[in-house]
Amino acid sequence: MSAVAAPRGGFAALAGSTDHKRVAVRIAVTAAAFFAAGGVMALVMRAELAEPGLQVVSTGTYNALFTMHGSTMIYLVITPFALALGLYLVPLHVGAGQIAGARWVLGGWWLYLIGGLSMYAGFLTRNGAAAATWGGFDPLSNSVNSPGEGMDLWILGVALATAGELLWAACILRTILRHRAPGITMLRIPVFSWAMTVTALMVIFAFPVLIAAMGLLWYERQYGGVFDGPEGPVAYQHLFWFYGHPVVYVMFFPYVGAVAECVATFSGRRFFGYTAMVASLLLFTSLSMSVWAHHMFTIEGVTVKYFSLMSIALVVPAGIEYFDMIATLWGGAIRLTTPMLFALGFLVQFLIGGLTGIWVGSTVLDYHVNNSYFVVAHFHYTLFAGSFFGAMAAIYFWWPKVTGTLLREGLGRLQFALSVVGANVTFFPMFLLGRDGMTRRVADYPADAGWSTLNALSSIGAACIALAMLVFAANVVVSLRRRVPAGDDPWGGHTLEWATRSPPPRGNFADPLPAVRSYAPLLDRGESS
């Protein structure tokens, strides 16, 4: 892919390029490879659950599969891809020629890549890959219950990958705060860059806690004495969820920002309520840093009143953001392009994830659905039916800028239709299964429980999602082999990246920047001319 001009000097220079666009594309490609691996694991799990009994894998292998599937998607796919969007776009949005701390960004990719490979290297060890959930919860993950090198490699891999992501976030935040071009104030940066600002803040304050938790867990496994006693596992959960809840929003806000840009562009209107959106993002992130223990409602000693209050309060900023999006659409000249379809799909389907979040945020209701498939359905509606759709909107929207070519609309629409059907057929039955008492993380269930039909339906949906991804892969291949030049601004975009070439040159802007008087400078230019 000739996404950006190659640096001079052969392989060493290529592998060591400090161009933020090149590194971001590399992160995205790496995340796509991990996504394929995580997706295959999901398909194997759904094949196992399609009917009662053990047909495909053993329970031990199933434990490793759901652990590695969750770990892959969160540590190695959705989070890195979200940050890669920021690494590529933020310098363009703020009129900077380079990202702050370009060496750190480059080094971060190597930490992420080798960290991810280390996690997977567990499959090559005698006891197999880690099988103690994506949270690595102690005492399940201690040396007695999870012996072998696979768990150790997982711990070290998670720490490395997370450290890489931390470096990227610090560089994104630094770029926004210190490298804006003259005239671009904080209230003139696009909504997407504001979303990346708050995302970076959460990464900077939550991710070091996970790295510390992984260090302590590794020490516990080697020498013991860290999480001993009845308080130990609770302390681990506090440390883990202090990362584990904010990361949900790290996997959400960048896609909200991308969807906001799509909605404004394809409605032909300025984004409605910009200032309210910025305020809601700041409020949302401060609340999302304060709700981690709602994952621990059923554990003795947690300040349930506080965490329930804060969790329910999240609906206020979320409501503002939805209101702003709908108000932008209202009366707009809407163009239903593929990125817009995915953006609208994100808004509708994330709403289901969000509304069921009120359910699990309520202590009383959470006691009923705790550890059930209801929770699996809830977070897959936020992360797959939500964030994945936001990611696809972003890919279809910015693909022309990154590659200089257009993805095919027909294949895009087909992928969208298959994705909508697949996501809902896969995940909606899980709400019903959870309500009826099916627990999560099981490879088998009783034949007389009445869950067979819903599980079979869910597995058919997973196959439909896989088909949608094959269509996307075909679209990528066709787009790159039979190139249709996109031009610099195929969509009539509002923000600065559309004022430069596709793909942008090193240094980002060959021509002088247009005047920036608001968060939609190209729309201003069109209106004034």
Binding site: P7, R8, G9, A12, A13, L14, A15, G16, S17, T18, D19, Q98, G101, A102, R103, W104, L106, G107, G108, W109, W110, L111, I114, G115, S118, D152, L153, L156, L160, A163, R174, L177, R178, H179, M186, T197, V198, L201, I204, F205, A206, V209, W218, A235, H238, L239, F242, L282, L283, S286, M289, S290, W292, A293, T303, K305, Y306, L309, M310, R506
Partner: protein
């Protein structure tokens, strides 16, 4: 902006204390609030240097760090090699003219 965010986190911490939050809960949230103030100070003070077009030294440094971390599992040999690579990376970073 950072100070506004710190204020919001501080407010949340106060509510947590008022509703009976325990030591670790208050430490984590309050620590984050205090950390934002430190971050704001760092963002205001430090300056950035220009990055070269490519930085093999940064790659070497990252590989050395991963070697040091994975060496805890794979053996002392990897730790020792990584320390050597880290020293080489430091030397090359100085030659690239990096500003610490």
């Amino acid at each position: 902006m950072l100070l506004a965010w710190a204020a919001l986190l501080t407010l949340n911490t106060i509510v947590l204390i008022a509703l009976g939050g325990d030591g670790l809960e208050v430490f984590l949230l309050g620590g984050a609030a205090a950390g934002v103030v430190v971050l704001a100070a760092l963002m205001a003070v430090r300056r950035d240097g220009e990055a070269p077009e490519a930085s093999p030294a940064a790659v070497l440094a990252a590989l050395a760090v991963t070697g040091l971390v994975l060496g805890t599992e794979l053996g002392l040999w990897l730790v020792l090699i990584s320390l050597g690579v880290l020293a080489l990376a430091g030397f090359r970073l100085l030659r690239e003219g990096v500003r610490w």
